[in-house]
Symmetry: C2
Subunit: 535 residues, 2 copies
Amino acid sequence: MSKQTNAYGEVRGAVLIGAGDAMTAETFRAVDPASGAALEPVFSSAGSDHVEAACALAEAAFPSFSETNPEARARFLDSVAEAVAELGAPLIERAMAETGLPRARLEGERARTIGQIRLFAALVRTGDWVQATIDPAQPKRVPLPRSDLRRRHVALGPVAVFGASNFPLAFSVAGGDTASALAAGCPVVVKGHPAHPGTGEMVARAVRAAVAACDLHAGVFSYLPGPSNALGTALVADPRIKAVGFTGSRGGGLALMRVAAGRAEPIPVYAEMSAVNPVLLLPGALRTRGTALAAGFVRSLTLGAGQFCTNPGLLIGIAGPELDAFAETAAAAIRESAPHAMLTADIRVRFERSVAEMAARPGVVTVAHGEATGPGGAPAILLRTAGARFLADPALTDEMFGPAAILVAAADAAEVARIVAALPGQLTATLHLDRADERLAAGLVPVLARKAGRILANGWPTGVEVAPAMVHGGPFPATSDGRTTSVGTLAIERFLRPVCYQDLPDALLPQPLRPDNPWHLTRRIDGTLSPAFGR
Amino acid sequence: MSKQTNAYGEVRGAVLIGAGDAMTAETFRAVDPASGAALEPVFSSAGSDHVEAACALAEAAFPSFSETNPEARARFLDSVAEAVAELGAPLIERAMAETGLPRARLEGERARTIGQIRLFAALVRTGDWVQATIDPAQPKRVPLPRSDLRRRHVALGPVAVFGASNFPLAFSVAGGDTASALAAGCPVVVKGHPAHPGTGEMVARAVRAAVAACDLHAGVFSYLPGPSNALGTALVADPRIKAVGFTGSRGGGLALMRVAAGRAEPIPVYAEMSAVNPVLLLPGALRTRGTALAAGFVRSLTLGAGQFCTNPGLLIGIAGPELDAFAETAAAAIRESAPHAMLTADIRVRFERSVAEMAARPGVVTVAHGEATGPGGAPAILLRTAGARFLADPALTDEMFGPAAILVAAADAAEVARIVAALPGQLTATLHLDRADERLAAGLVPVLARKAGRILANGWPTGVEVAPAMVHGGPFPATSDGRTTSVGTLAIERFLRPVCYQDLPDALLPQPLRPDNPWHLTRRIDGTLSPAFGR
């Protein structure tokens, strides 16, 4: 490690239970996916006793942390952002070694991670998430008087977060789920992804340092690295955990949903699982700029070795010379594309299996197949089938996680509409269109809005802006819960619930509902938004 | 029926599929619970073919209904309210015959039902539920430009609503679940409760008349009466249904949760199931006004034969002469209380069984037992146990649906705190306190806020105000989803999901997100709430 490493940037291979480190006999290693070589040090595998200890601490931290005022909680989030930033170049170097992702991508992801935490800090400061609502008493109302009613949103309780392999910073230890859960006032127990344990530990130590610097209860954050499914199951099954954030495979997400639904007290699981992110190539756009579309498609397809939740894995167009020309141009670009190493050997194996299975299905032809290089390098692949085949075979909507897509050649616009209507839930849906396509598109947009959380025109779905209007979610099976988003400020609502206080003496009211409004919140009083004085 | 019955007030015993009536060979009858006599006419039992037809119509209605503008949708809701009001005295008379509830109670419930629908109409007019959010493009941002992002909330899809027996108007065919789902833009298929089929059909015809009067797609509303569990299961299993609203027993709610979780596409179930609504009698309050508390308690306990979700079924106090005096006064009032008929013979049987089981548990004594009269009359009952017993026996927290409560005599304040900490999720929690009790109460309120959706001081939980600040919900097992409420304006959010539109041409944007803001919404633009001009 370079000299820039600060105290909490160290990688000991520990389990972090609040302020304490634990080392275990059972260990695992990180692997450099580009070389296949194991990396130092060995990492402790957290077990059920660590789940028990972390959840007990998180529960102990809940009463004080969930009632931190907006300024204190925002300062904590800002401290987390600063601590992650202070990890400096060693964090990027460790992440490069563990994931095979290039420096620029990881630097961009770090900026996004830090920006995301700061965005939640700003959101927390507004206090809008409290949704403070006051219906004053009407003692003289007939036939019955009305009580004084005051409502606020409060944190659900301790939250389990599962780091994702494909975004080792932005969707991992201090990623979107952790940031939004902490912003809501929920202590977080992270199940660290075994593909980037060094990166995970460095970030975990940064969060812990912020907890200490802000004098918060140490149980606000714990970090449980490990490769076993049993660890994740034990965490979700713990009765003190009240919600789960997860980004990963459909199989993993469904398994956690089952565990959560089978608890004595079922809890919400926010699992962002899989999508093929359909891209519709409408006739006018194909005619006027098919070549540019093919180039843009292959860039989006191969970005980060296709290991994006929003990777464009399904193209839909109307059969004809323009679609053939698009396919040929895309095929040429795919054959020339440089393969990236995939994140893990396991992902690589599953990618090749899913592509082989898809390519072997009836009516599916392989249009282009890039070349594989090195132990981790995954070739880009484009398959093709006819609209009627696609409609007849639901397996063709399955995700191939990696740089692979299937092009569906529909017979006509009516078949395009039928294909869209038959799609399962998606994270995104994209339209490439010219003005001449708008009439056709107008019929498709309302249907797509029932299928996806985000609809794009004339862009590519990879790249998710962190902003108030963003929705990174969508109907099942894209996610476990289409009512939410895992990116953007709206994500905080996943970890809140409403509580009403009726006729409580002022001294017993929580701060945000007191008559003197000590948090200076904008509150809805008798139906009207009433900004606090002095804001 | 009196002459006041209007055209849609008739009771034919039909299944209402959109604008059409269906009659079936399989039938059932309503029963007057006070006399046990069967009522005219016979009612058709809806079956799986009716589920199919109603869901197909609801799906067909979704595209147009979900995009109705706020004024059109609000006018429809106002029409529903008016149509229910126009049912007049015959509705009340029919409901009295079918439920055994007294006229004044049902007139009050009708007023509440109508007021609730009008409240949602007013909410829909504000457009706030759209949560329109616009993050304008930043084409010159470095390192990457930002796309134009626009988010709105849209209706989930067709919703299944299960009418409750205990509120034949306010939680039934046109009750809170139906009103909030329609307000969100979701077509509704009601599974009518077999205990009040005539009342249900009258209200269903009123809703249908409003659908027709407002020129909406007939599939916006269907009504499927029937006594079988298979009917409800088929409805929840239908792939076109996207959410479920239910008020009823824990067993019924859990069964629907399992069906919903087992679908190819799992869907949210909002089930309001059971609660014992703990009431804490703090020492100061007991000392200064124990007699008045006992009288208030018995009034609340016996209201509507105890058939309220918010019935006070659990009292907690510190053992001593004040608590004994309270128990004696309450016992006297219970012995003098006039028994009401329960809603159905089945509810009566289950009530007696649950009371007998509870009274037979170790350490439970019967303090008072009212007298039973008539076939439906249920006696009020007060049981008592010690705090240590209560802590040792989780079955003592089970609901006895009806006018029964258990008084827990805790050894001291610390045991009260342990009892509160061990409670399962509740709809409400109540504190009776004097100023001298505030210190003790201050330690209990944060714990109660994790256990219940609503916390009351110095009142009784029966009586749920329909208002923006109300929360009629709470952690499992009080409800299936503690993140929501089934009463009050917040209930609309159960039936909405967010969708983001990125870089869409203006002509393809939905109305609420267009630059010219044709719905005149207050929108959040670049983070700031921006009222429309002219509002």
